[in-house]
């Protein structure tokens, strides 16, 4: 009898299995899919639709015509192009700061015991428990011309007049880097955990110095984490609004801030929509090229 069942199973298996294999993941991701489609895809498509409509003010699209005027206006005006460039520049600075500050922490995490590691993880993640607005206000008060940092530096006689920390690109990069550092650390740490410790042992047995081991074994093997972390930090920095508004103000008109003003102050929804799509596409293109460069490099092997 037992044998019998098994036989039947085998004969019907391919079809059923195929369906099953397809059905269960589909059902599992269905709630997420519905959520994403209704709250992300549909609004995004609506914004895309708006961006191709030539209406000056408001959302009344009756009698409006399709046009690419919004995009043309953007690329014709050096002010917006420089704003886009500023956004990219600040995001790149943020990525570099996060990488430089984050890598040593991730390395420490990877090398320490489980107990220490979980403690560091908690420390790294703890800033994320506080709202971004509160965190930025903290920085804001610290960085003001007569705030704590400037007062201390002036008191110690290191500087004569207050440093321009706030309302400048420096302020925005400080704010963004402190906010997104955890993402970078966790991404790199994860890839460092996956490195087989015996590889490093082998390297030192073969006579490589610790520095050389790091340079030729650990660092290349952590590239997937670096790429994940940098793209993550880059993308969120490109679209950051709260931090540049608070820490940069008028002096740092990054594209999300400019877009917000267009929509909320001038009610120019269609132009604002075009601007947000330009930002999105720029981010996607940069991230795509960046990851491709890494994958095509001689270290491409580690991404497989």
């Amino acid at each position: 009898m037992h044998e019998n069942i098994q036989k039947r199973d085998i004969s019907e298996r391919p079809r059923k299995r195929k369906l099953k294999r397809f059905l269960s993941p589909a059902l599992l991701i269905l709630p997420l899919l519905v959520f994403i489609i209704s709250f992300f895809v549909v609004p995004m498509l609506y914004i895309l639709y708006l961006s191709f409509i030539d209406v000056k003010e408001g959302l009344n699209t009756e009698g409006a015509v399709y046009s690419i005027q919004n995009y043309v206006n953007f690329f014709k005006d050096p002010y917006y192009l420089s704003s886009l460039w500023l956004t990219i520049k600040i995001s790149i600075y943020t990525v570099i700061v996060c990488l430089v500050l984050g890598y040593p922490v991730a390395l420490t995490m990877a090398k320490s015991s489980v107990k220490v590691r979980s403690f560091i993880t908690l420390l790294v993640v703890s800033p994320l428990l506080i709202s971004v607005v509160v965190r930025n206000f903290g920085w804001y008060l610290l960085l003001l011309p007569n705030g704590t940092i400037n007062k201390v530096l002036m008191g110690l006689g290191i500087i004569d007049s207050p440093l321009k920390l706030l309302f400048s690109e420096v302020g925005v990069v400080i704010g963004l880097a402190s906010a997104y550092l955890p993402f970078m650390i966790l991404a790199i740490a994860t890839s460092l955990y996956n490195i087989d410790p015996s590889l490093e042992k082998a390297s030192s047995i073969l006579g490589a110095s610790p520095l050389r081991t790091f340079r030729t074994v650990t660092l290349p093997l952590s590239f997937p984490g670096i790429v994940a972390g940098t793209t993550l930090v880059f993308s969120v920095s490109m679209s950051a609004y709260v931090t540049p508004t608070l820490m940069g103000g008028a002096a740092v008109p990054v594209l999300p801030v400019v877009t917000y003003d267009r929509i909320m102050v001038l009610f120019q929804w269609t132009y604002g929509s075009a601007m947000s799509y330009i930002l999105l596409i720029t981010t996607l293109v940069i991230v795509f090229i960046y990851t491709k460069i890494f994958e095509k490099s001689k270290y491409g092997e580690v991404f497989k």
């Binding site: 589909a26 408001g58 007569n146 705030g147 309302f167 008028a250």
Partner: protein, 369 residues
């Protein structure tokens, strides 16, 4: 096999997406046909009206102070939706065919825009008897009823001024006095207060609403002595509270709040004059609760409500109600020159101002520091 499954998933996804794409249009079409049937004249049985307006002080005043009194008298509850004017405006546009908001409160510029976009009802002056008792300077449009008066002036920290031996500001041109360098906290032109200061600075120097070159020139001088321009009050107020800045551009109702918080600050109406404005209540076009909305607006413009308004640091719009003495001292306008600007023209020109300010003035920030 795997490939085919993948293909199926992708196809299914695309189908879902396409199906979803259609939806945003559908409800609109439905409601518009619904609405054609006619407005429902609801009178006695309205239990609740929705009022939309800015958060913060205005919200508190309507929701916590005037609203409960209105509910007590009429049994109609106030559902207050707080948001930025841009958000409220977008809601009015999107809900055009089935309004969810009955009363909105806007600044004059937005009232003009909403009026031109046909989003709000014409005001029938016979329904609002209090309009006759109002100071004429508040009346600028037949699309809304002024409820809270305000103006924008120069505010300065009296203690810091005394310590430095600076003379109190008297003119819009004092904004860029060289001695204030690094001690300024001025809002951007996209902000309502900065906007007012901007065109008044221009007018004080021979410009007018259509010729803003003088305003741009002087604003450049303002930028040169400033660290930054502030986007909004959330950003600006801490700088004043920390006494990093000694001089700013503020609306009266914020100045009284700062004084309540213990800051030695005073508002000056410059000798060239300041624009008298009002937060204006508008009735959303085609609201089914028009009568209740009118009732509410009338209640807010009654003497009893306007006394509450005066105590909170806004100017009462009724001529018979005056500011309490202690508030008059800080923000009083009884001997100052205030005027009603041409809000229609301002609304038309402001895009140009904001663009030019961002491109020509902002790059000058901090150059003279």
């Amino acid at each position: 096999m795997k490939k085919r499954n993948l293909l199926l998933t992708v196809l299914l996804g695309i189908m879902l997406m396409l199906a979803a794409c259609g939806t945003p249009k559908v409800p609109e079409a439905n409601t518009s046909t619904d609405n054609g049937g006619g407005k429902k004249a609801v009178s006695g049985e309205v239990k609740e009206i929705t009022v939309a307006g800015n958060g913060g002080k205005i919200e508190q005043l309507i929701r916590d102070e005037i609203g409960p009194k209105f509910t007590e008298e009429t049994g109609i509850k106030i559902n207050y939706v707080a948001g930025l004017s841009g958000e409220i405006y977008a809601k009015l546009e999107l809900q055009k065919n089935s309004p969810q908001i009955d009363v909105a409160t806007f600044t004059p510029g937005d009232v003009v825009k909403a009026g031109n976009a046909d989003l709000i009802e014409q005001v029938d002056s016979t329904v609002f008897p209090n309009l006759d008792k109002m100071d004429n300077k508040y009346i600028y449009s037949d699309k809304g009823v002024p409820i809270f008066g305000y103006t924008v002036g120069i505010a300065y920290n009296t203690a810091m001024f005394e310590k430095e031996g600076w003379a109190a500001p008297t003119s819009w041109n004092d904004m860029y006095r060289a001695e204030f360098k690094g001690k300024t906290a001025y809002p951007e032109v996209s902000n309502a207060w900065g906007h007012a200061a901007f065109y008044n600075l221009g007018m004080a120097n021979g410009g007018d609403l259509e010729n803003i070159d003088p305003a741009i020139d002087k604003a450049k001088q303002v930028a040169a002595i400033s660290d930054t321009f502030y986007k909004n009050s959330t950003q600006l107020l801490p700088v004043l509270q920390q006494e990093t800045a000694a001089i700013s551009i503020l609306a009266n109702y914020v100045v009284t709040d700062l004084v309540d918080g213990g800051l030695p600050i005073k508002m000056v109406i410059p000798e060239e004059g300041a624009p008298l404005q009002s937060l204006t209540a508008v009735i959303v076009k085609n609201t089914p609760k028009k009568e209740a909305a009118e009732q509410f607006i009338n209640f807010v413009t009654e003497e009893t409500s306007q006394k509450i308004v005066a105590e909170s640091g806004f100017y009462p719009v009724l001529t018979d109600v005056s500011l309490p003495e202690n508030i008059e001292e800080i923000i009083g306008i009884s001997d100052a020159k205030v005027y009603t600007p041409d809000f229609e023209l301002i609304a038309k020109e402001s895009e140009n101002w904001i663009e030019r300010f961002a491109k020509e003035v902002v790059p000058e920030l901090g150059k003279g520091l």
